[in-house]
């Protein structure tokens, strides 16, 4: 019985530690991993639609297994290419660092014509765009800021000399 307790303790403690370690590691690497959006279950349109990037043979097999679904005319519409049928496919909701994401993919003639984000919210519940790409903004979009409203100024590294003529220097003198 003691052996069982010892083995159990070792097993439990080790697995608890491994889980903790893994959790810690995955927290730290999440910055470096790329965002992938598995778009699996097709709830809208014909069955058999999968992520547009997947292998054509897989698509063909899933398409054929579900060909009994009413309204499915995969074979007739695309007898040779065996790609996903035309229509709009809705992916399942996926939790990402941008919040919950759900996308709809529109496919026409075997190619993706549109990707729509159906559900995108950030932590505060605000909806956000799926892409984090920087987009041009006009200077007029940015409210003019006055130095009194900020407590610090970020700028390209300045030398001690350059600092003397910078806004930060003024802020520092005002707050000293």
């Amino acid at each position: 019985m003691r052996t069982r307790a010892i083995l159990g303790s070792i097993l439990a403690s080790t697995s608890v530690l491994i889980v903790g370690y893994q959790a810690g590691v995955s927290v730290t690497t999440s910055d470096g991993t790329s965002l992938s959006l598995p778009v699996d279950a097709a709830t809208n349109g014909t069955a058999g639609g999968t992520n547009a990037g997947t292998d054509a043979t897989t698509d063909s097999s899933t398409g054929s297994t579900s060909s009994s679904t009413p309204g499915s005319d995969t074979a007739a519409a695309a007898p040779t290419t065996a790609g996903p049928a035309d229509g709009t496919y809705t992916g399942s909701s996926v939790s990402t660092r941008f919040g919950n994401v759900q996308v709809a993919v529109t496919i026409a003639s075997g190619s993706i014509t549109d990707v729509t984000a159906l559900q995108l919210t950030d932590e505060d519940g605000r909806s956000v765009q799926i892409s984090n790409r920087a987009a041009p903004i006009l200077r007029s979009e940015v409210l003019s800021s006055q130095s009194a409203q900020v407590s610090n100024v970020s700028g390209a590294t300045y030398t001690t000399d350059a600092y003397l003529s910078s806004l930060q220097s003024a802020l520092d003198q005002a707050g000293a």
């Binding site: 999440s30 910055d31 470096g32 991993t33 790329s34 965002l35 660092r97 950030d122 605000r126 956000v128 765009q129 892409s131 984090n132 790409r133 920087a134 987009a135 041009p136 903004i137 006009l138 200077r139 979009e141 940015v142 409210l143 800021s145 006055q146 130095s147 409203q149 900020v150 407590s151 610090n152 100024v153 970020s154 700028g155 390209a156 590294t157 300045y158 030398t159 001690t160 350059a162 600092y163 003529s165 910078s166 806004l167 930060q168 220097s169 003024a170 802020l171 520092d172 707050g175 000293a176």
Partner: protein
């Protein structure tokens, strides 16, 4: 209250509640210690001795090796857009040690329980996390931690602000890199293209990421910008040679509110 002092070839400003004024000297000491190790300006620093060939890298101190290793990891992660080597091969850890120093100073302030602070070293800013400690000072708002608003300098006229944005947990760090002031600050890996951005600011959860990625985007241009915004959870504001701005969507909200 605020204290400014010279360190690492630039100026540092620390803002913290008056009750914690004594911590400034501690922060100063952290900076001085790191500067003593990494400065290439001082011939006696450990890094200078290595650069001059007096000390072998294999005999370097563990902290220096750790910083070097971290910098090399960032080099791989950014496809060489960030590099701890000068074009002539000299190790130059300037690109990372300042941020590391800020990081250490921030950790120290958190460790001692200082409730509300900001550290600005040469334009790279880290602010305290929300709820880091029970605010013990009268200056703390009863409604919770104050939102720290940071300005970004106009690249070519440092006395003006380009814009301002909120720094709040977890987005606690902003770093700005540019070709405007210290022209030789950023080493570009084999690129002959003219620099497309004169100034890049990166807002991130930690200061090292912000600093390294800002450097990498200035060095790598538009490709690096797209790559960084795809792969890292950061926000970016750029200013190109013509003075036109771009920003990631996450920032629009912050930029548009006072």
């Amino acid at each position: 209250m605020r204290r400014a002092f010279a360190t690492m070839g630039t100026m540092a400003s620390i803002e913290l509640p008056a009750a914690w004024a004594s911590e400034v000297s501690e922060v100063q000491r952290i900076f001085r210690m790191i500067d003593d190790r990494y400065s290439l300006y001082s011939p006696d620093s450990e890094l200078s001795l290595i650069a001059a060939g007096h000390t072998s890298l294999s005999h370097a101190s563990p902290p220096l090796l750790a910083s070097y290793a971290r910098a090399l990891e960032w080099r791989s992660a950014t496809g060489g857009n960030f590099s701890p080597h000068r074009p002539d091969g000299t190790i130059d850890l300037n690109g990372i040690v300042k941020a590391e120093a800020i990081e250490h100073a921030g950790e120290h302030l958190i460790a001692v329980g200082c409730p509300e602070w900001s550290i600005n070293v040469g334009g790279d800013i880290l602010v305290s996390p929300t709820g880091a400690a029970t605010p013990a000072t009268a200056s703390a708002s009863p409604l919770g931690p104050r939102v720290m608003r940071a300005g970004i300098a106009e690249p070519l006229s440092p006395t003006e602000l380009l814009c301002s944005l909120e720094l709040r947990h977890p987005r606690r760090a902003i770093a700005t890199s540019g070709s405007a002031q210290r022209g030789d600050h950023i080493w570009r890996a084999g690129s002959t293209e003219p620099i497309s951005f004169v100034q890049v600011s990166v807002v991130a959860n930690d200061i090292v990421t912000a600093d390294v990625l800002a450097t990498a985007i200035v060095a790598g241009g538009q490709t690096a910008l797209d790559d960084v915004t795809d792969r890292w959870d950061v926000d970016v504001i750029t200013v190109d040679r013509a003075g036109a701005m771009s920003a990631t969507p996450g920032l629009l909200h912050s930029l548009a509110t006072k």
